[in-house]
Symmetry: C2
Subunit: 407 residues, 2 copies
Amino acid sequence: MLIVKKFGGSSVADAECIRRVANTIVKSYKEGNKVVVVLSAQGDTTDELIEKANEINPNASKREMDMLLATGEQQSVALMAMAIEAMGYPVVSLNAFQCNIYSTSTHSNARIKNISVERIENELDNKNIVIITGFQGINRNLDVTTLGRGGSDTSAVALAAKLGADVCEIYTDVDGVYTCDPRIVKGAVKLNEISYDEMLELATLGAKVLHNRSVELAKKYNVNLVVRSSMSDAEGTVVKEEAKVEKMLVSGVAVDKNVARIALIGLKDEPGTAFKLFSLLSKKKISVDLIIQSIGRSDTKDISFTVTRDDFKETIAILEENKDSLGYSEVKTNTEVAKVSVVGAGMATNSGVAAMLFEATFDAHINVRMISTSEIKISLLVDEKDADRAAEVIHDKFINTGIKARE
Amino acid sequence: MLIVKKFGGSSVADAECIRRVANTIVKSYKEGNKVVVVLSAQGDTTDELIEKANEINPNASKREMDMLLATGEQQSVALMAMAIEAMGYPVVSLNAFQCNIYSTSTHSNARIKNISVERIENELDNKNIVIITGFQGINRNLDVTTLGRGGSDTSAVALAAKLGADVCEIYTDVDGVYTCDPRIVKGAVKLNEISYDEMLELATLGAKVLHNRSVELAKKYNVNLVVRSSMSDAEGTVVKEEAKVEKMLVSGVAVDKNVARIALIGLKDEPGTAFKLFSLLSKKKISVDLIIQSIGRSDTKDISFTVTRDDFKETIAILEENKDSLGYSEVKTNTEVAKVSVVGAGMATNSGVAAMLFEATFDAHINVRMISTSEIKISLLVDEKDADRAAEVIHDKFINTGIKARE
């Protein structure tokens, strides 16, 4: 088998961690596999480098930040190669230049465009274990880019796709994908399988185990993804096209507290108002999530929407700047809200889900401020203080009882 | 003017140092120059990385060590670019991949083979200050190499040669080349000019201000080299083809304590013995420095030579392994010796130098164990305990009185 394994920063934080991961890698190699490994920078390296940069220039260009940060992964791969050499196995470390990981030019948030895998394939043919820097690419000027949050997951999936790997294993500090964050919901259970779409919704909705870009890419190229623990041999969760989630309606509940709600009151009720509003925000790269439009008094309407708390201040500034052209009478805001989402491929064909959801929150006296639905997801906006409790009662209703009902 | 400036690790050790160097660079840029800067890794970075590697694998391959160590320079150049950005000037950092600094494949001690400077020239034409990683190259497999000791000096000179720079300024923690190490000889004076050949002898002989490979390269491509202080605006020392060293016979005195002496007694006095001996050592990359061959008792001869103390043990092992084929009767060794050398282009045409030298050491009761002469140099092997005193009396004789005599 050709296996791509990805280990994050905490898995390679120090010499001991590196040795443990080296053992995992060599074990797989000794079983006769071709092994490609993608690594992040060690533990706090990236933060330390950012601090160094801030001391010199808090507004450094993204190009130079990328040039600086990319050294973290290069150190990881060299050290890992040394650990494998110490065990007596053939190994080679490669960076983005050597692997031709071409990306777009957007520094600090580049997308992988293409990878020429000749070098990697040659090294594999020569029986080498290949250790590759995650998170980084080069653009067409040969400038160093980084791929943004979850970038190493994306590197691993892209390499797996291009190499035609049998499986892409993402090693994390948890042993798989759970129906909810176990720190929030005690009854959360590990899933054996989940579909790309469900994983994508969960990842987008705040489940931190995989970044949504890596899941998108896995879905696009049909990469067999496995999320598993770097600390144990437990089986992990398989992410694939069609997953049988134990006949559950719902595969997971996610809580996202990085949410702020903004309501524009008294907008003129004429065509194009909403378009004008959201195109203003989109020009500034502000993502709007939940949106509700409702009839206001007389001939006006109200629009409520959510943004991340990081974008909150800038959004308010844009609204104030454009008060005249948007023509609203008042802005109401609430930054103490959270989004609780229920994801499940089974929901598409089951009309009772929304009812069950409202029953659960009503029984728990939780006020639902906004609601948004898609084929495989329902999101509720609730007060932040209620969020964890909401996740718990919804999880109980759908997942724990759901399993029982079918046993 | 097109100027290449090289700063060592202590000059970029922390944020404050980096800002000071950024000021020096920008000052030169504002005077209308095209400025290319070559940097070493920050202060202790390289040592820290080596320590990290040793913790994981004390026998790591040189390939992976180079991959690891090259990150140090990449961090330096990115941080320096950020400091210059903070001052509001256009700047770009480049590594060996981006500058196409092609080298031989000898990891940890590669030689630069070629540099394609298109990218650098484009950046200069776009009015950018260009900051380049010293010490590193890439071989024809695109593997990272490092250039060994003094590598950043070599990078700077090679770039200056290829770019046709008007001057290559090597910034150090001293303000130029001295007639001797001021810590050894109080009367040491700074030279305004020195010839390549003299600098080469001084560098080879232990003067640490410039590495001999960089001087060789400067001589070969006739690069106008200046050694100057990163802490002051003092003029520094110009290294060039024909230097007028204030009409002194001697331009410098160097002390090298990394010396061990080995004597083979009772070798058969037949042709080829010396050749056999030195080719054995050369195969193991052991450099032999001073050599004396003398007639021994009856039909035998003795050969004495010096090696660095680092090579001492290996040399002895080789001699013992080949005792039969070399056919000597005894090995005598002394590791408590040092080499004191006097360098000066003026010596070639002045026959009194050797006499003055022996007069100085004789007056000081210093025993000279070996002697070796070249066109522009005389080296004496003395006991280590006498070395600094020997340097002082020789320096007094040739340089201080030499200057006085001509004033």
